[in-house]
Symmetry: C2
Subunit: 491 residues, 2 copies
Amino acid sequence: MLILKVNKRSEIPLFKQVFERIKELIEQGVLKPGDKLPSSRDMAVHLGVHRSTVYKAYEELWAFGYIDSRPGSYSIVREREELATLEKRAQEGIIPWNEICTPLVDDMLKFIDEATKEKTTSPDTINLAMLDLDPRIFPVDDFRKCLNGVLVDDGARLLTYGDAQGYRPLREAIAKRLQIHSIEVAADEIMITNGAQHGLETILKLLIEPGNKVLIESPTYAIVIPLMQFYRSQLLPIPMREEGLDLAYLRKTLEKEKASFLYTMPNFHNPTGISTNQAHREELLALCEEHKLPIVEDAFEEEMKYFGKVPLPLKSMDKKQIVIYLGTFSKVLFPGIRVGWIAAEKECIKRLVAIRKVSDLSSNMPLQAALAEFCEKGHYELHVKRMHRIFRKRMQTALKAMKDYITVENVSWTEPTGGYLIWLHLKNCPLKEERVHDLLLKNGVLVVPGRFYFPTRPKDPYYRLSIASLDEDEIKTGVQRIAKTMEKIYK
Amino acid sequence: MLILKVNKRSEIPLFKQVFERIKELIEQGVLKPGDKLPSSRDMAVHLGVHRSTVYKAYEELWAFGYIDSRPGSYSIVREREELATLEKRAQEGIIPWNEICTPLVDDMLKFIDEATKEKTTSPDTINLAMLDLDPRIFPVDDFRKCLNGVLVDDGARLLTYGDAQGYRPLREAIAKRLQIHSIEVAADEIMITNGAQHGLETILKLLIEPGNKVLIESPTYAIVIPLMQFYRSQLLPIPMREEGLDLAYLRKTLEKEKASFLYTMPNFHNPTGISTNQAHREELLALCEEHKLPIVEDAFEEEMKYFGKVPLPLKSMDKKQIVIYLGTFSKVLFPGIRVGWIAAEKECIKRLVAIRKVSDLSSNMPLQAALAEFCEKGHYELHVKRMHRIFRKRMQTALKAMKDYITVENVSWTEPTGGYLIWLHLKNCPLKEERVHDLLLKNGVLVVPGRFYFPTRPKDPYYRLSIASLDEDEIKTGVQRIAKTMEKIYK
């Protein structure tokens, strides 16, 4: 008979004490595989405890694999599989993940590693690379109160699975807000997504079979390139001109190629900052209508028309329903809530919702409800106005500084009519793009090298400058440092 | 000269009045395409307003596409593209979405339409179909306070883009919690997902090339079937036996087939409720190690071991790092926050994170931070204990009622050791599955027909019963109604 002791005055529950003592005996090898434990009745008598205490301890031993026990039978010590603790487990497992994963993943990994490679910056570096909004201007408190309020009022419901199409009051608020931009869509024609990029991915799932062709602008939003490649689509780049994507080039391409859709950013294009004019938009729409080509209109900065002069979104004129419109709160409110949306014809939305149901079921409910409340209470509109005031001044400061300080003839840049982005072009540059980038950094300013935005590397160096996270002083200093670097390069 | 009037005492801003009046004149055809508007200077004099007011009105007219204007030139009325209002736009667009979308989407749509077809239920119907948790037991208030607290303390940061791998303190809290289940992983070996299903999808992105084979249990979680088909994988079903997936069958399959991974639910399997025993797990793990086959262990109800007796998770014994472990808060806390996780070898996690970056960037931050706080403050542990008390009684009630009321010899069911699911089997049934389902509903009880869980329809009718959203009285009534229906069918 085993001799065990329990301490009835200990804070540790009795069954735990019994469990621990027997576990120790097994681990020390005192009890060996095949040994029988006393019946729970005998053990209870021996320890002077209730039988249920022993029963519970035996259950724990079984759960952790120390004993075998079948109803009515004795409990037998078993050869227990060792736990895979950090020490016990192989440094490297037996699955060669790099070999068994789809080759597309390693391409993606390479792209991301390169694009997000940390550069050594000093605390003094001006970061003109980040398109993340300046957190200093987030309306945190109003949003927090809305979030808290909806959970007080309707918490239990907001914590259940939501509508895969998105929380209806939020879809209604978005439909209402889109009217400001002359877009008239019903809440049924909107699906909420986890950000605009997730929206684009869902559209790829809908429309892309491996090998299908997609028309993109060149340059375009950097992550679009590996994303579309991951969906095994073939990219057909349409060059960007000063006035937007080259319509003549697009027309010719459409005459010889069958594409699944065109991906375009008519406002404050990423990375160039270019917005197309009204005539360009009408011609683009007519051309795509003629070819029955769906347009994915990425309107990630639709709200940031702070200089006023901005033509109509493609979606606002989309009488033949070929436009799939992507929106987001990330570039005007905050990105950490991951809420964007797709507006498209009902038959298209219906299929996107089916994809959501099979993919990740739905977006989270509490943040959607808080956003709906935030819009309904008027906070959103006020915030947009505030953003306009702030960024109108910041962009004016940036453009004025560029004009004042950058005097090298070969260096030119776009003059955006809103948004956050300026695109710098270095003609006849004696240095390579990477080298200029390093020099800029050495002079205390971080920008994004242009090559990440092109499907194939361009001849000249380009750099994307973003004013999204900087105040006017920082912008001015950043531009001065760029100017100084340009002078050195071209001297 | 046009004659316009403005009302200087109106609440409507002057520029808006000018804008509206000119817009009307254009829409009424008084002003025609090609007509010149007066210069802003002349118009200002005519109206007796400041020139900037007119300038702003002209900007609005330009933005909405009513006039062309170039710097220094007069403004000219243009042929404006009509807005695509709900009335003006085609009832049906020109894109045949059903034809251009990938054929996989329409298969998916069909599956979802059928699986989620609303049955007419009366208010009195007992819903044994829902695996959604009972919202009456959600710890709404504690969670709300955590959420509000983290936003008070650290709001601005929590509203920026988060770490694509997931909010680190939450990964740490999960790593700590997994120790309860004998699983030792580091925070680096965890990636947060938008629920367990989203985790599975991300794994498919990592491992599946079109045509690859995946081993699944048959029956299995219903949505897994269309999801895996959407990723163009070929399903290799392994039959479920009373003790879990058929190991001999798996062994034979592995001898002739090369599969990308095995998807399995060792605990409280969906839909059968079966848990495998310790020996089964050890054998399964050894077999897959031998074939270097990754195992995706879906542990969606790991926390719900309320009867105590549950063997070790595969991951806890995974010394050779072949197990990708899927966890979630949806089936123990609440699903509306959409938070789950993947625990796997670092090299595997690294690639999953790259996929996230290209796919949807990251999960939302505020809900992750609130969960981390909820765990750290001990609310989570207390809640799980409460859930155990509640569902131990509910499952006991269900199983007792089944035994007491269902006396038809041909009807059998599983006896789960935790979780929410019971699997009903009707041998030699004179009626088809659909017919029995209708009869059950007529008798006031809704269950899920078994066919949705099989890649190919089984001979006998099966039904999944879930106690997740019902209290003891409701469960008892539901079982009584099932018993009554069974008697009628087999009489």
